[in-house]
Amino acid sequence: MERGNYILRKTAFAVVTLLAVIVFNFFLFRVLPGDPVKLIIHSPRMTREAQERIRVQFGLDKPVWVDTDRLRQGDILGALDTQFTAYVVNLFRGNLGISFTTRQDVARLLAERVWRTVVLLLGGEAVAILLGMALGLIAAWRRGTRLDAAILLWGLFSWALPTFFLGIILLILARGHLPVGGMATPGLRPQDGLSYWLDVAKHLILPTITMAIVYTGEYILIMRSGVMEVLAEDYILTAKAKGLSTFRVLRDHALKNAMLPMVTVIALTFGYTVGGAIQVETVFSWPGIGRLMYEAVQKRDYPVLQGSFLLLAVSVILANFLADLLYSVLDPRVRAE
């Protein structure tokens, strides 16, 4: 079955990439110059007990990768009793270590903040996708006109614009009119119900607009070239010959066919989008995973850095995998009979 094979391949790919990321993540933080043990648990703010707990949990006095002595003795299982194994085991238990700065459980920290990044991403991406596809379609349809040139230039310009700088500009412009930092006005709490959530929504406006503007440009460019190709295909001429109006040709033939490659592209650029979220959260102090990473970089909080990287990488891999699945559903040529 064509489709079965396709799904199998994509699953294998996703799994292997996940494993590669996990291994990479582990080794990156173990190849730091200096005493690895110190780097992972050294922090004046950590209590002795916490340090001890980590030492035990992560087996920091054990060999890093493989215990060659035990291996030579023929003790294979024992040879695997290493930091790496401890790391993987902890990973599956949901234990990502403890933050240097806040002494909080990293996994908990991430779980708390992840929805904030998701909300930001969803809002920005949704607008960007809809607007980008619409403008790209129009530009391709009106190929060669000034409207097309304008849309193309806009697309190129927003591609060249650094996300964080756009954020800064909007921040300067909107100062005084819209909230420019944080998630909510100090003083309001979730318990305050609707007024709190409305306040949060207000704080979300600028970051979302920033994301939307940057990524609309990207999608405009891609949709435009995709639609151009589709509109030159024979079946479009046939549709015209059938007496369909331009609107119907665009809606019932061009759009459907051009959207397929868009699914793949949106997935591929999702990593880029996540990078943008980091910048936007930093500029607007939006307390999501991106902002967390920024703060962790500044404070050299390695466990948090490691944990957030893992989370982001895994999400992007998953997103790609889901997009691949979605594609197999949408494109009948990939489906089995």
């Binding site: 024979d234 019932d252 009948p332």
Partner: protein, 324 residues
């Protein structure tokens, strides 16, 4: 018999990159009577497809119809607006394009594409009834109706060709234009498609225009033949006359060039030279550079020969063919 389509002096230019007009088709004239079939033959690039596209106003962006009339049921289509043309397309005149493989949208079912034609022209509005009608059309061309819910890539080349024909018949058009309906198909399938076209013509009282470079097909299916060369009409007569009494030197060479099953060992006669380049057209007769007719004279290189009726219903464009 009533004249369904009356094309007079149709001329089409293509604008080159720098804007100069290339005279791709010049002075094409013919008629199609109800219930009869016309074969349009000529080499690749002689303008046959351009003439058909011009009739339906489906030329590419650089195309310009510069002269002529296209009278359908007495009304000149060239005076129609785009909106009016949309009413004519498919409902009255439909077309099966060259290379049917790509004429179908790959991500929609065959059925949905036929239903679309039915619904757009309000032939059948109700979805379920439309699907049933689509199934009937498929059966008409020899495709099991259940396969309508499949996608084009699941059909073989021959089936796709038949599906496209079914789709073209959806709105019961008066004229069906079939452009090279059998190229790239193997011989067995070619025969099937031809048979299908003949059958449809008889059953549905369809008027057919068959565009092809295959004379054998024309001999079998068509009542009248229009021979084109280099964008102009060389000869136009009934099929009998063209095959038994061709008068234009090009028609004669064309018939000679066709391999004759009855004489398998005979050398293939080809016509030396190449068709004229649109940006370098001979000022006189367009066939003159390749014409080896002994009666050639200086007039051939200077004056384009007018299309003259040398016998009732037999038209030739050559200075040296006299009226009978």
């Amino acid at each position: 018999m009533a004249i369904l389509l009356d094309v007079r002096d149709l001329s089409v230019d293509y604008l080159a990159d720098d804007g100069t007009p290339l005279h791709a088709v010049d002075g094409v004239t013919f008629r199609l009577e109800e219930g009869r079939s016309l074969g349009l033959v000529g080499e690749s690039g002689c303008g046959k497809t351009t003439v058909m596209l011009a009739i339906l106003r489906l030329l590419p962006q650089e195309g310009r119809i510069v002269r002529g009339q296209v009278l359908f049921d007495g009304k000149d289509l060239l005076q129609y607006s785009e909106a009016q043309m949309r009413q004519v397309r498919w409902q009255h005149i439909s077309m099966v394009f060259q290379g049917a493989m790509n004429a179908l949208n790959p991500v929609r079912t065959i059925e949905s594409q036929i239903v679309e034609a039915l619904q757009v022209h309000s032939v059948v509005e109700h979805a379920q009834a439309a699907r049933e009608r689509a199934g009937e059309l498929l059966r008409l061309v020899g495709i099991p109706p259940e396969r309508g819910s499949q996608y084009p890539h699941q059909y073989s080349g021959g089936m796709r060709q038949r599906a496209v024909i079914a789709m073209a018949l959806a709105c019961n058009p008066r004229i069906l234009i079939a452009d090279e309906p059998t190229t790239a198909l193997d011989v067995m399938i070619q025969a099937q498609i031809l048979e299908l076209l003949e059958r449809l013509q008889a059953e549905l009282h369809l008027s057919l225009i068959l565009v092809t470079h295959d004379l054998g097909m024309v001999a079998e299916v068509c009542d009248d033949v229009l021979v084109m060369y280099g964008g102009v009409v060389a000869e136009y007569a009934s099929s009998d006359v063209i095959f038994n009494d061709p008068c234009h030197p090009y028609t004669q060479r064309l018939l000679q060039a066709f391999p004759d099953v009855g004489r398998p060992g005979a050398a293939l006669a080809s016509i030396p030279g190449n068709p004229p380049r649109l940006d370098d057209l001979p000022p006189g007769c367009r066939f003159q550079p390749r014409c080896d007719c002994p009666r050639r004279g200086p007039i051939c290189a200077h004056e384009p020969p007018p299309l003259t009726e040398i016998a009732p219903g037999h038209y030739v464009a050559c200075h040296w063919v006299r009226k009978v």
